[in-house]
């Protein structure tokens, strides 16, 4: 591996890890707060799957980087600008409809992404993906079911679901974004060609929106920047809470 390739691969594993980590953290905030006990269990389940992936991706990123950073160093000792997650996953939970909208858009993309990543020439990435694709299929079933249930439920739930969708929609775009590093990895057979997933993902989304009697939001504002560390004001508060112990008691074993 050339040094440039190593750097690209490090960044790639890191951003996959960051997406899982931050979304897992957001879902963890729902603990004991959801509308039904069964939903607490389901949301924690998705959160667990995402943290599981985060650990593998971050551990791998640390190994590729070769500077001795483990999963915890990467999760707990970077500041906002060092995180490369997509903006979607750091958006606040809002109400349950908002969380479902965020999760549905993520899952709809993620199922396709993980399926493609199983064909990566990188054995570690392919192995994580093989496990993740099954999990994500289940996550999508859950979030899609609720999208439909809320969209086609009561007038209030319909309005909330539409509002949640409008709120999260602009952030879908960034999931398809690829920088030069990713494009080099696509060429090398390591990374997924995100753009190639677009038609399939959008079809899956449209079909669910129709069933949910929801209106597809108009494409307009399409923020990017998460991959290069340009984040919303929300991420800092998430990190302050998430990293508190590691920061307050540096160098401790837990």
């Amino acid at each position: 591996m050339t040094a440039a390739h190593t750097e690209d691969l490090f960044r790639y594993a890191l951003r996959l890890g960051d997406d899982s980590l931050i979304l897992g953290q957001r879902l963890g905030e729902w603990c004991a707060r959801s509308p039904e006990m069964e939903l607490d269990i389901a949301l924690m389940n998705t959160s667990l799957d995402l943290f599981g992936r985060a650990r593998t991706f971050l551990t791998y990123a640390g190994e590729v980087e070769g500077k001795g950073r483990d999963e915890d160093a990467l999760a707990f000792l970077r500041d906002v600008g060092g995180f490369s997650n997509a903006l979607l996953v750091e958006q606040p939970n809002g109400d349950y409809a908002c969380t479902i909208a965020r999760q549905f858009l993520f899952d709809a993309f993620d199922v396709a992404f993980m399926a493609a990543l199983t064909r990566s020439s990188d054995a570690t990435l392919a192995a994580v993906a093989a496990k993740a694709v099954k999990e994500s299929t289940y996550h999508l079933r859950f979030s899609r079911d609720w999208l439909v249930r809320l969209g086609d439920g009561t007038a209030e739930s319909h309005d909330r679901m539409q509002a949640g969708l409008e709120e999260m929609w602009p952030f879908l775009h960034e999931l398809f974004e690829m920088d030069a590093a990713e494009q080099r990895l696509v060429a090398a057979g390591v990374a997924v060609d995100r753009e190639a997933l677009r038609a399939g993902v959008e079809a899956r989304i449209d079909e669910a929106l129709t069933e949910a009697t929801l209106t597809r939001p108009v494409d307009g504002w399409q923020p990017v920047g998460g991959r290069r560390g340009d984040h919303s004001e929300h991420l800092g508060f998430l990190l302050a809470e998430m990293q508190w112990m590691q920061r307050a008691y540096p160098g401790s074993q837990w």
Partner: protein, 326 residues
């Protein structure tokens, strides 16, 4: 026991006697069996309280999910809290086999009519409290619950088998958290000691009032809903825990704690039963917070539950229409 012991045509007295004989023979009562109303009521109260405790217990531990100090600990904690939600669900189901409805039980929890374990009215201001809860609170729960795996009511006994298995795992995890702290930096060790100081007495109070002040125990023992007295279980817990604390190098906050060679047990100091009563009456550090949180969560989620019902109704109507059309 199906039709074996009880036929509703029998006289109440003979029913009661045959029911007790069946229990004395260590056989299980199943949902469709005849049972005395008091047995049914006692079990519903006990099982639903246990379910409520699992649900409320998610709060003090859930409090640290977003701040757990490593990813490994975070994942373990989420899984643990998830298990608690699961326990709550099995237990509500077990109570439903006795004719209670989950909605009613939840309503009683929310209104304050039903109780949950007072232990969850203590706060978790530090990460070490998560270790202490796993080690001590789950430890005490296991002492209480292992005998319940042989309780006379079948569905409850079977639920407890699963619950106890998972709680043993949680207890080991909690002890492991304490171990990491006790072997860590001086600050970590202090954190562990302070958590132990907070949780030791409340854990002992979990076993309930002393035997001579526990009026319902005799009947429950007779029905084999309960199999050991509060004081016996408390003693068992103390005897089990003292060497564990010693191994951690932590000090149990009780100057009167010492081995009694004659009894073959540890003696321990008098317990603050006034505190126990105060917490039971709602004056623990977190009673109001726990109830307010649960009520707010329930109220905030109303529109979601309504949407789910409305959707289910629509689906049913659509299916009916489709059947009709076909």
């Amino acid at each position: 026991m199906s039709q074996t012991v009880a036929d509703t045509a029998e006289t109440p007295v003979s029913l009661d006697r045959r029911f007790q004989d069946w229990i004395d023979a260590e056989r299980k009562i199943e949902p469709r069996d005849w049972m005395p109303e008091a047995y049914r009521r006692t079990l519903i109260r006990q099982i639903s309280q246990h379910a409520h405790s699992e649900i409320i217990g998610m709060q003090p531990e859930g409090n640290w999910i977003t701040r757990a100090p490593s990813l490994r600990r975070k994942v373990a904690l989420i899984a643990k809290v998830q298990d608690e939600a699961g326990h709550g669900l099995y237990l509500y189901s077990a109570a439903e086999t006795l004719g209670a409805s989950r909605d009613d039980m939840v309503a009683d929890l929310l209104s304050g009519k039903a109780k949950y374990s007072s232990i969850f009215n203590y706060p978790t201001p530090s990460w070490a409290d998560i270790g202490a809860i796993g080690w001590l609170v789950d430890g005490a729960a296991i002492c209480n619950q292992v005998p319940l795996c042989r309780t006379s009511y079948g569905p409850y006994a079977r639920a407890m088998v699963r619950v106890c298995k998972e709680e043993s795992f949680h207890q080991r995890q909690g002890y492991e958290i304490m171990m990491a702290l006790a072997q860590g930096t001086p600050e970590q060790k202090q954190m562990a000691q302070e958590a132990l100081n907070r949780w030791w007495i409340p854990s002992l109070l979990m076993f309930g009032p002393p035997d001579d002040q526990s009026p319902n125990s005799a009947q429950s023992m007779k029905w084999k809903i309960k199999r050991h007295s509060n004081d016996d279980l408390r003693q068992r817990f103390v005897d089990m825990t003292v060497p564990q604390a010693e191994f951690l190098g932590l000090t149990l906050p009780d100057p009167d704690l010492k081995w009694n060679e004659e009894r073959g047990h540890y003696d321990f100091g008098a317990l603050p039963w006034d505190e126990f009563q105060a917490v039971l009456k709602g004056h623990g550090p977190c009673n109001r917070q726990r109830m307010a949180f649960r009520n707010k969560t329930f109220a905030d989620g109303a529109w979601v539950r309504e949407a789910a019902s409305a959707y289910a109704e629509k689906q049913k109507a659509r299916q009916a229409a489709a059947v009709k059309a076909a």
